[in-house]
Amino acid sequence: MALGKIKADTLEHSTAGSVDTQYVVNGSAKSWVNFNGSGTVAIRDSYNVSSLADSDVGIYTLSWSNSFANDDYSSAGASGQNSNAMVTVSCAIDTTAPTTSASLYNTNYENGSGGRFDSNQVTIQVLGDLA
């Protein structure tokens, strides 16, 4: 069966309302990932992620399968640790500037002196314009 293709500006549901398709294009996450950042880092599940690199303690590099149109995309993330000692673990964009094809992220803890930490639960979502 040949692939179908629909061009439309609006999608309308019978009861749930309608949405301009620009919200579908612009509002869809272009990448998301769930990975283990502790020990040998490994992706559990993802979309549009070509690789995960362990760049240093608490620093990870994510590369995208399909690049973005620019480096101005939006990232959101959360991280955690199955350890009561690490009460607070955060996920941040690294000081290295993102590029259209990759971005660096940090995970940190804030107990005591704080510092970068290899979290075993890291999840990140990215929205922006694909190339």
Partner: protein, 138 residues
């Protein structure tokens, strides 16, 4: 302007896979993969309650700063991606309020809500808790 009236979108080759042309007019992105499957905004202070949400069922108050969001439609696995921000209600520490991901399951996610300030951390019931989840629906 063209308009499609429809209640359900289904892929022709694979039911759960529809491609959308990206902003650059060349690369495509997968509609199902890109859609947020769960989002929520709830008051975590006092009697916790949703203000608004999508694909959320009940909300469980496990303890101070320890809440579970239960999904209406479950995910295929607990490997989904989550993100969120919290705040309001703890003037001493709003600059560093955080949402930590706790135990996850296909039908729910457990969130630990913390503050951090000057090396001190603690669990706290913030009044503004928002988050969303990307991943695969069952």
């Amino acid at each position: 302007m063209s308009e499609i009236l429809v209640n359900k979108l289904t892929g022709t080759s694979t039911a759960g896979s529809i491609l959308v042309t990206g902003e650059g007019n060349s690369t495509t992105t997968n509609l199902q993969q890109g859609l947020v499957k769960v989002w929520f905004n709830y008051n975590g202070s006092g009697t916790i309650a949703y203000r608004d949400s999508f694909n959320c069922a009940s909300l469980t108050d496990n303890a101070t700063g320890d809440h579970s969001v239960n999904f209406t439609s479950s995910m295929t696995s607990d490997d989904y991606s989550s993100a969120g921000i919290v705040g309001n209600g703890n003037n001493a520490d709003t600059a560093n309020s955080q949402m930590r991901r706790g135990t996850s399951a296909t039908g729910s996610i457990r969130l630990t809500i913390n503050y951090a300030s000057g090396g001190e951390t603690g669990l706290f019931d913030y009044s503004e808790i928002t988050g969303n989840i990307n991943g695969d629906l069952a």
